[in-house]
Symmetry: none
Subunit: 249 residues, 2 copies
């Protein structure tokens, strides 16, 4: 069953290789899209090669909406984007995948149905196909080497959809284990090192001692240590002292 | 000849299938990246399957820098990102591809050398590999279906690089004094501490030794040390050993 999440339909127009259809399904589902539509696939439908390639995303193929004509495939959509490699000399908005999916998210939130068209592997969409679109999506690629395949293009659009839909952006600088050390714990660590290094004769010559201590404290405070880190660093110093005392006694 | 454009190096760590190495080269070059580094490829090097798959981007394979060890591959880099699917329970910044490449662009504009690590197809990077990284890149995917392959992951990072390189904001955290330490300098520091602490009996009990070493390496790589910091930390350890040897002899 398709997810309830409102989302764009991705429409493969006259796709050729079954493998690419399967790979496109996987690319979509990686980013939470599961409404595939297929127009006039070259090798008929269902396609065993597509199924074989789609592992884990086979449901998208089972539920894909098949049409003979593009007009039927997007008949229920109020806004259609066409992905093309080249500028077409058409008077339509040309959007990056990011802008296009932000636009799509806004339209969908407002209750519109939208679709994104992807052309056949070799030649891309015909001008006649593009004529049915309201806007063009053009992926910014290296002008010396623009060779995105069908599934890669689907992947990038799906990735931008997920970003635009704002579902998952886990960005954190949160310590995974335990908490950040408190200032007082850092202070104790600094003092521990200062004391032991003092005994060991580290702060030499005397006129440089103060500067060296400050450098060391700066280091600890800049480091963003967790409690576990602080314990480990205490352990490092304790062990060096223990080593000295054991062998030195 | 590689392009003059300063850019991150993309490092494939122990890649398995030649086809994926070739596809990764194409994905990179689609977005203008041409500095590939390869660590210990499973099937040796050069790899005919990689060449066959790389059509149009074969130059990247010819010019790829091959290493036996990850440490050598990133020795000249001062900031390293590791791509991982799972959170690792590590206390490192976790960035989206977008944020990571914006960060990389700012660092590169400030003169840093950066690298992005990609793990082997099946298992991804080992914890030991991730321990060498300063930050983690995690692609926001469908939690029900996270099946990005190697070349797709390279594609998304490269795509975000091209987007970020277009809009570089010069605001990297520039060290006030001196330069950031390079990965090879951090590596030497980590080894120095590991060796002396090993002699001192720090890594005990033996079954915990490996985990302790990885924790310590994670600490160094996370700290963003300057050259001066590294010298000071070397000095700390040298002094503790000198102290032991003086009193202990």
């Amino acid at each position: 069953m398709p997810s309830d999440q409102p989302q764009p339909a991705l429409v493969l127009v006259r796709p050729q290789m079954g493998e690419n259809i399967g790979a496109a399904a996987r690319a979509m589902w990686n980013f939470g899209l599961d409404r595939m539509r297929i127009v006039a696939p070259r090798d008929g439908w269902p396609n065993p090669a597509a199924v074989a390639m789609s592992s884990g995303a086979g449901r998208l193929l089972d539920e894909a909406r098949l049409s003979d004509k593009l007009a039927d495939a997007v008949g229920d959509c109020s806004y259609v984007y066409a992905t093309t490699a080249r500028g077409r000399g058409l008077t339509k908005p040309v959007l990056s995948p990011e802008r296009a999916m932000a636009d799509a998210a806004a339209r969908i939130a407002a209750g519109e149905k939208v679709a994104v068209l992807f052309g056949p592997e070799r030649a891309g969409l015909e001008n006649e196909d593009v004529a049915r679109a309201n806007a063009i999506i053009s992926v910014p690629v290296n002008p010396e080497f623009a060779s995105l395949n069908l599934a890669q293009c689907v992947l990038l659009v799906s990735y931008e959809w997920m970003r635009a839909a704002g579902e998952v952006v886990h960005e954190a600088d949160v310590p995974a284990k335990g908490d950040w050390a408190s200032a007082i714990e850092i202070e104790k660590l600094a003092t521990h090192y200062e004391d032991r290094l003092g005994e060991a004769g580290f702060f030499y010559p005397p006129e440089k001692a103060e500067g060296m201590k400050i450098n060391l404290r700066n280091l600890w405070s800049r480091m963003r240590l967790t409690r576990a880190d602080v314990q480990m660093l205490h352990g490092v110093m304790r062990q060096m002292v223990r080593w000295k005392e054991r062998d030195g006694s």
